[in-house]
Amino acid sequence: MVKILIFAIMAVGWNIMSGYGGMFSFGHAAFFGIGAYSVAYLLSAHGLNPWFGMLFGAMLAAIVGTVFAFLCLRYKLEGSYFALATFAFAQMFFLLTENLEFLNRTEGINIPILQDDSWLMMQFHPTSYNYYWIGLFLLVAAVAVSIWFVHSRPGRFTTAIRDDEVAAESLGIAVLRHRLITVALSCAITAIAGGFYTQYYMFVGPNQGFGMQVSVDAIVPAVIGGVGTIWGPLIGAVVVGGLSETIADLVRNPPAGLEFLQGLSGLDVAIYAILLIIIVVFLPKGIYGTIRERLRK
């Protein structure tokens, strides 16, 4: 359940940059990992409170993302080239963490475990509902921010730029600045999801933080639910998360007649890959986007 919430926060973050901003990112793992590692490193090495760690991670991710996006936009990388650049960017962070001594290389960082539950240190017994409440709170906050953003002036400018850059610019909209604001916001939200991930699993390694799978996990819920809509990423996260938990149960205790599924790994991702292809081919606006369009007619 908490996993679904993390997926959802990430997808909401991705959606701001790629859905509303029109800058297709294939490397959100970079920002998720920055958030996750900020919390883990600052807590384990300097004893910094994870709430502040999360805030710090969000700020760091926003700064890094802005600088990177500035370079990309400055050199006019668009379309596939932009997607490839973000992808390479995340891979660089992955390789960097694998080679940095203070981030414990490939072994990753374990969070020091406390004796008692503590709100202050955001650490509870693994089955505690408190994680769920925190995740829900973060998600509601992320959605609230994205609703506010979409209806704000910079948000409207951003969608205008996405729809027609030249027209927007000729109307006097500062294209570069608004794009960078969008990127910074998106990266910050994604980093918060990363920080929460570290606190929940009490561990982060290069693969969990910066692996390519993380970028995919940010994209897929948003695409399945509906890119560029507020509720799409949430619906997508529920579908993907629910699907993967159902299948995990199914593989653990297969019903009669399906015993061959026992312990089979890969089934969940294979099914959501098929779902992804079907949605992209037949419902390009995603589940929520398509329903909304039908209702409007």
Partner: protein, 335 residues
């Protein structure tokens, strides 16, 4: 450099042509820089000459393998203008096909590789004709990308379900190594590297001399124009994707003998193939060959100084530099 609006329809004619003759200057400059760097490593690098020799030879061989995987990617991008995220997964798929044919049917792995070619062609053709052609055509590049991403996840996890995660191996009858300039060269790797050159040459021949190649080049240059003069564009798309799949089939067949076969074995090649084709110029065949060599050399020579994954990091730094400073790549057409 002006804008790189690669994806607006009115600029498709400015796309990097698949084959260009006027590239001598770039080739010479690249060679000069490479020679200077290598000389620098020899004279000032502070490493024993024998080690550098070995690194150079392994770099060239590794580069050949990389080039082989990248050829298909660059062909698909040059014609369809889409980034095929499933290239690495298709490579794994063909390696498992070779594995099945050689262990279950008892064939020689290199014969199995030849049999894999039509299988992978059919696979690529069917995927493009059945699924991808539905998402082509509109201005967004995201939908094809997402579909290939889905395919990649599907292949990897399908293989995981079918074969499990335990590594498998294909035994080559030609295993062993030969001595070259005082260094040891693994024979299957040498064969793979030569295979890359042969496939590159054959691909060039097909594109330049056959009617199919003419149609493919026409679609690559301007698909609307090609359709107007009677080329069946969707059919050409499917054929091209099939040819791209053939490249990975050959790559998979030649690489299977020295690869530890797990469902994610091809993953790292997707990443590297992107680096290589962007380096060489998306859509350029000589670019893919040269890019492969450069990346292979950077990786092996770099690992003399940066142990572990550090040399791979160097490759990515190079990639971002190229993207920023010369996004059309070494051999891409100037926009």
């Amino acid at each position: 450099m002006s804008k790189t609006t690669n994806f607006s329809p009115e600029q498709t004619s400015a796309h990097p042509p698949l084959l260009k003759r006027r590239q001598t200057r770039i080739i010479l400059a690249t060679i000069a820089v490479a020679v200077l760097l290598v000389a620098g490593v020899y004279l000032l690098g502070g490493q024993p000459t024998r080690l550098v020799n070995q690194a150079l030879i392994s770099g060239v061989l590794l580069g050949g393998v990389y080039a082989l995987v990248s050829l298909g990617l660059t062909l698909i991008f040059g014609v369809l203008h889409i980034v095929n995220f499933a290239q690495g997964a298709m490579l794994t798929l063909s390696m498992y096909t070779v594995f099945m044919l050689s262990t279950q049917a008892g064939l020689n792995p290199y014969l199995a590789a030849v049999l894999t070619i039509p299988i992978m062609f059919a696979f690529g053709w069917a995927f493009q004709a059945g699924i991808m052609n539905r998402v082509m055509g509109d201005t967004s590049h995201e939908r094809p990308l997402l579909v290939t991403l889905g395919l990649s996840l599907l292949i990897i996890n399908g293989l995981l379900m079918a074969f499990g995660g335990r590594p498998a191996a294909v035994e080559s009858p030609l295993a062993g190594s030969i001595s070259l300039f005082g260094t040891l060269v693994d024979r299957p790797r040498l064969i793979a590297c030569l295979g890359a050159l042969v496939v590159g040459a054959l691909l060039t021949l097909v594109l330049r001399k056959t009617p199919l190649g003419l149609a493919i080049r026409a679609v690559a240059a301007n698909d609307t124009g090609a359709a107007l003069v009677g080329v069946n564009v969707k059919r050409i798309y499917a054929m091209t994707f099939g040819l791209g799949a053939v490249c990975v089939a050959v790559a998979g067949g030649l690489m299977a003998p020295f690869t530890s076969l797990i469902p994610t074995a091809g993953e790292q090649f997707t990443t590297l193939a992107f680096v290589i084709v962007v380096l060489g110029g998306l859509g350029s065949i000589p670019g893919a060959l040269v890019g492969g060599l450069i990346v292979g050399l950077v990786q092996t020579v770099g690992s003399l100084y940066l142990p572990g994954g550090g040399s791979l990091l160097l490759v990515f730094v190079l990639f971002l530099l190229v993207l920023f400073l010369r996004p059309q790549g070494l051999f891409g057409a100037k926009q």
